[in-house]
């Protein structure tokens, strides 16, 4: 994390459509050159937030500042933002080069400069050889690149991607994630991605904002988001986990003992005794056998899913609770279905979340 000055500042933006609150006092600060993802399920407000930044949706209240300028009431064509739409929205009546040149042309840039910029943008996305093609003659992946080149060509203050990769097939999407991240870092772009794909969020971004019901639940680096989820929603939305419900027995500065149907467990969290909570841990923290000073639970293996470098083992712990462990062959034999096993995991990697926040 660098201490660079804020580049894009969203201050307490709210937006309602009829009775539904789509954005609920959102605050977001993004530094120059930062790649941030708005991650959340459909209807969480992430696209509306992106559109508010682009000027395509007017917030009911709050402010948007970009590059030191208050743009809350500036129309989109004067904001200097670049948007890559999910459907790409490439102009079908123009060629590839015509699309990339569009933004510069309407700005009245000199022809020679436009040609140079178009060439540069197209070579950046490795499509220089297709400059004269019609849009309809391109594949989905190529269209995606043209949309990117078109947005980059005007050198916007911020690039906004609205589910821009979701129309690509999986393999192409994964390749584009890596390539796009490198490209954006090369040109030192500030970018915001909107996606519901957690892998995309973790791969592409310096920071991820997990959104739910018009609010940002957590804004953190991918690693921190995964290892220290701030809410049950964030825990559920990113990665897998074991979740067991219970009641707090005793609390002791930042640690709680929880009575659950699979036994007594300890977890990190601040709760009063008697609070209903969900105790959770990431599957790779669970190990076969006992460990000292650790949580543990036993059960019968329900399923074993081999996934290459890891194997996911789901254990029926009885009373409707289940454990999810990610085991590696290196740490010993993988149990089989119906085996009775005991799993244990460190208390410092166990979190308690309030029960009612379950999404």
């Amino acid at each position: 994390m660098s201490g660079a000055a804020p580049h894009l500042v969203v201050r307490s933006i709210s937006k309602r459509y009829g009775p539904t609150t789509v954005l609920d006092h959102i605050d977001l600060t993004i530094r120059r050159g930062e790649l941030v993802t708005l991650l959340g399920p459909s209807g969480c407000g992430k696209t509306t937030l992106l559109r508010a930044i682009a000027g395509l949706a007017q917030p009911d209240s709050g402010k948007v500042e970009l590059a030191g300028r208050d743009i809350t009431h500036v129309p989109p064509h004067k904001r200097n933002v670049g948007v890559v739409f999910q459907s790409y929205a490439l102009f079908p009546h123009l060629t590839v080069a015509g699309n990339v040149a569009f933004g510069l042309k309407v700005r009245g840039t000199a022809r020679r400069e436009i040609n140079a910029a178009v060439e540069r943008a197209l070579s950046l996305v490795k499509l220089g050889h297709l400059a004269g093609r019609r849009i309809s003659a391109l594949s989905g992946g190529q269209q995606q690149r043209v949309a990117l080149a078109r947005a980059i060509a005007v050198e916007p203050d911020v690039l906004l991607f609205d589910e821009a990769l979701s129309a690509l097939d999986r393999k192409l999407r994964e390749e584009m994630q890596v390539e796009l991240r490198r490209l954006l870092q090369d040109v030192k772009a500030t970018a915001i991605f909107v996606t519901h794909d957690q892998d995309e969020a973790l791969t592409m971004s310096d920071r991820v904002a997990v959104m739910n019901k018009g609010r940002i639940e957590q804004l953190a680096e991918p690693r921190e988001l995964y290892l220290r989820p701030a809410s049950l929603f964030a825990l559920n939305f990113v990665g897998l986990s074991t979740r067991i419900s219970g009641t707090v027995l005793a609390a002791d500065n930042g640690k709680v003992d929880v009575e659950t149907k699979v036994g007594r467990l300890s977890a990190l969290g601040n709760f009063q005794a008697g609070s209903p909570v969900i105790v959770a841990a990431r599957p790779e923290q669970l190990r076969l056998g006992e460990q000292s000073e650790a949580n543990s639970a036993a059960g019968r293996v329900r399923s074993v899913v081999f996934q290459g470098s890891r194997t996911l083992v789901e254990v029926d712990a009885g009373a409707g609770e289940s454990l999810l462990a990610e085991l590696s062959e290196r740490d010993g034999a993988i149990p089989r279905v119906h085996d009775e096993i005991r799993l244990s995991w460190p208390v410092t990697e166990t979190f308690a979340f309030p029960m009612e926040a379950q999404a």
Partner: protein
């Protein structure tokens, strides 16, 4: 690829059957078009250039060499052009309004477009004569309101002709444009605006080019309908505005000059074909 080494599947009979089926489907329309369109067309052409003494171009010389008949051709073109231009200016925003409207409003608007198509042109043109004549509703109302003292002459003026023609042919302009506008992705305009295009620039560089196919279709339809209109000029302006269509009718019904009527018909057809061909060319994607 192991399939490549295998002998090609025996598909020839299937293809033949497909072709036969296709011919079977096309045949009825082919017979109808050949019989009731192509054949009469050939006859029309023949009648226009052959008289009792053999081959002659006298009919065309008369049509294209007499100032009066050049005026007639101009009248037809003028009716077609004015109607088309005015209908376009009304239809383009109307198509957008229609596309933006939702639910009941959209249904009502579409019904007001489609319902008049059910009434014959004669009925509609006649309705305009009732509205516009000296003791018609428009004049009576204006007099009753004290705005004018004596009735204004409206019927049998060019204004009446154009107003009537625009009204009658308007759906043929709105509907093709509406069909295009309704499926225009709003993202195009949004993309243009985020790229720095003002609403006006967006309109001329994105919206207008993308809706061009609808405009061309509407223009071709309305022009070919209005340039050849017969009932509308006959009822709304009459003798003093002879058009190719009324000239054809006169040549056949009154003057008994089928050769001359046929020549006028060929010229009218030529104009309509030129417009349709031009619009087909324009609507083809450039490059």
């Amino acid at each position: 690829m192991t399939e490549a080494a295998l002998p090609a599947p025996v598909a020839a009979p299937a293809v033949d059957r497909e072709r036969l089926t296709a011919i079977g489907f096309v045949l009825p329309s082919f017979v109808i078009i050949a019989g009731v369109f192509a054949l009469p067309l050939v006859l029309l052409l023949g009648v226009s250039v052959i008289d009792a003494n053999g081959l002659t171009f006298a009919n065309y010389r008369r049509l294209l060499g007499t100032p009066y008949y050049l005026g007639v051709i101009w009248n037809s073109l003028r009716l077609g052009l004015l109607t088309t231009i005015i209908a376009f200016l009304i239809s383009y925003p109307a198509a957008f309004a229609l596309a933006r409207a939702h639910g009941a409003l959209r249904s009502v608007l579409l019904a007001t477009l489609f319902l008049p198509l059910a009434a014959s042109v004669i009925v509609k043109a006649f309705a305009w004569t009732i509205l516009l004549r000296s003791d018609g509703i428009v004049n009576e109302t204006l007099i009753a309101l004290g705005i004018i003292e004596d009735p204004i002459r409206m019927i049998f003026t060019e204004t009446a002709l154009i107003v009537g023609a625009v009204n009658i042919f308007l759906p043929f302009m709105i509907l093709p444009i509406y069909a295009i506008v309704a499926q225009l992705d709003p993202r195009y305009a949004e993309a243009a605006s985020t790229l720095g295009a003002s609403p006006i620039v967006t309109f001329f560089h994105v919206i207008l080019p993308l809706t061009l196919p609808g405009i061309i279709a509407g223009v071709a339809l309305v022009f070919s309908l209005s340039v050849s209109a017969y009932v509308v000029p006959t009822l709304l302006i009459g003798e003093k505005y002879p058009t190719l269509a009324t000239t054809i009718a006169k040549a056949y019904l009154l003057a008994r000059e089928p050769g001359f009527g046929a020549a006028a018909g060929v010229v009218l057809l030529g104009i309509a074909i030129a417009v349709v061909a031009l619009s087909a060319r324009l609507s083809r994607e450039p490059k």
